[in-house]
Amino acid sequence: MTTLVINDLHVRIDDESGHKEILKGVNLTMKTGEIHAIMGPNGTGKSTLSETIMGNPRYQVTSGDILLDGQSLLDQPVDARARAGLFLAMQYPAEIMGVTNAEFMRAAINARRPDDDPISVRDFIKELDQNLALLDMNEAMAERYLNQGFSGGEKKRNEILQLLMIKPAFAILDEIDSGLDIDAMKVVAKGVNSMRGDNFGSLIITHYQRLLDYIEPDVVHVMMGGRIVKSGDAQLAKKLEAEGYTGLRDELGLDIKLTDEN
């Protein structure tokens, strides 16, 4: 079992307009075998949390820690964190010319293996074909340049394909359901569920209860104003769907402005 602990995490972003504290003390503990969901209003820091866990250099940790099995990840660059077992399905995956999808995934798998023991072409192709089939993806997708010209939905599916090929210990899925039609959402859920087991944990960020109907979470967290303000079981998501964030905020007596309020 692997454990990921987020400890009183404060994160700042520096841009032209100056510094802005976005995460204001996030606490979260996840174990492999568990699926966690995070919901929360727009602009509340969910993507910031996922990017910071992964190690995006644009986000500055000002205090707190991120620990994988007790080891701090803060001084590790993104590639080392990935090899240590983290995976982030991004809200906006990059497009890369000249590098095929298949070639990229093979490089990612080999990055986790000793230099003198790369995955055999045959094993790789076998696994790739299985996963393409599982995700209803055309084989041609593997030979296209990485995300180049992919539709929004194809990109999301491709993130899950990478997840299945790389088999990380923890996968953070940032709005993997956004822009997906209902069938595609089911396919993506099927992919994630196929990973479920004692050696896999996931943190699923979503705005919609619907995804959680297909991937049932063990724990649901609500994030507002840069903090996790409430955690509960799958029922919490249903309640939110029914009542919205304003209700929860007022119930908790929080002084937070939600973006859709005037």
């Binding site: 590639d79 890369i96 000249g98 590098v99 490089a107």
Partner: protein, 426 residues
Amino acid sequence: MSKTKTFCELSDLQHYSQQLQEPAVAWQMRQQAWQATMTAPNPSFAKINYRPWANLQGQLTVASQAVPLPASTAQIAQVAGQPVQVRLSTEAQTAGVEVLDLVAAWQQWPDLMQQYFGQVMPWTSQQLAATHYATVNSGVVIRVPANTKLQAPLTWDFYQNGTGRQLNSQHVLLIAGADSEFSILENRRTLGSDQPSASIVEELVLLAGAKVRFAAIDQLSLPTYLARYARLATNARLDWALGIMNDGDVLADFNTDLNGQGSQSEVKAVAISTGRQNQGITTRITNYGQHTKANILQHGVILSDATLIFNGIGHIVKGARGSDSQQENRVLMLSRTARGDANPILLIDENDVRAGHAASVGRVNQEQMYYLMSRGLSKDLAERLVIRGFLGSVLSEIPAAEARQILTDTIERKLIDGQRHRDRAQ
């Protein structure tokens, strides 16, 4: 023992020419070229300082001892300053392809030499060219007969000689007969490192309707003036695919003249500069004939403290109606201390034409790096993949699969070397 000096003494040149038993015309050319080195202007390449290449030195003597030719499977092979070695394929022999050493060509093909040697490059126009024609001490002349169609490429391996005192001034002259069709795969490398500089000039003459694909992989380590000049007759077509993978400071002067009506040329070049290397690449296509088509596509990558300048020059002269001149020059800088420029120059003296250009100087896209690294790829590997994508848009356009593969492998090796160098320095 003769003392090492520059070619400068005219009497040395005369002595050398006599030793080679060159005909009077050849000697007159040397003499004129020698005079031009005093009077001709410095070469002018925008934003490139030509001086590092202006110092051609070494002895001009007839080679007494042969430098062993590295194992080469090429049909034509030569170490600068030495005789050429020719082993044409059966296909090329049957087709009537003929190859002579430059010295022999002056004796056996005097008319052809007078007609073409020094006719493509204006050799008294600037000092580096004049220096070459004064000192040329080795070379090869290739004739491909009219209507010849070759399936397999003609392969050429040329070596600069940095192992001794001999001056390096090598010349290639190719005459592609009317309606001939073939491809060339050229490799250039360096032996040793004992010479301060070298000079290479290639002249390509394409007669009417000739179609030539010229792929070259340059891996030179001496400071070199490397000129490739071509002249196209009516409806001829020349496609260049150039991998500028040198380790030394190279001044590349690529020039194509679209003389004949309907002739066309495309230059696809990829270049890498690493370490403290300085490369300046000027690629010019001039549309003289009507309905001629020019396209220049150059992508380059710069690591560490290196410099890489691309000049693309598209020139449409008055009267070249219905012509087209396009170009794209891009460089990618991988370090803060890299210096690069992509400089498109369009000179249009005719109204009824089409012309366009694109240029950029940029850095590796950090979003792309982050994405690749977030899957566990090391920074160096991620960087190589992004670069491969950047160069790939030129590479994928190179028609010859063999040349493409060699070039891809060379790029990979060069990038790994460059990164290792950088990572050690950090």
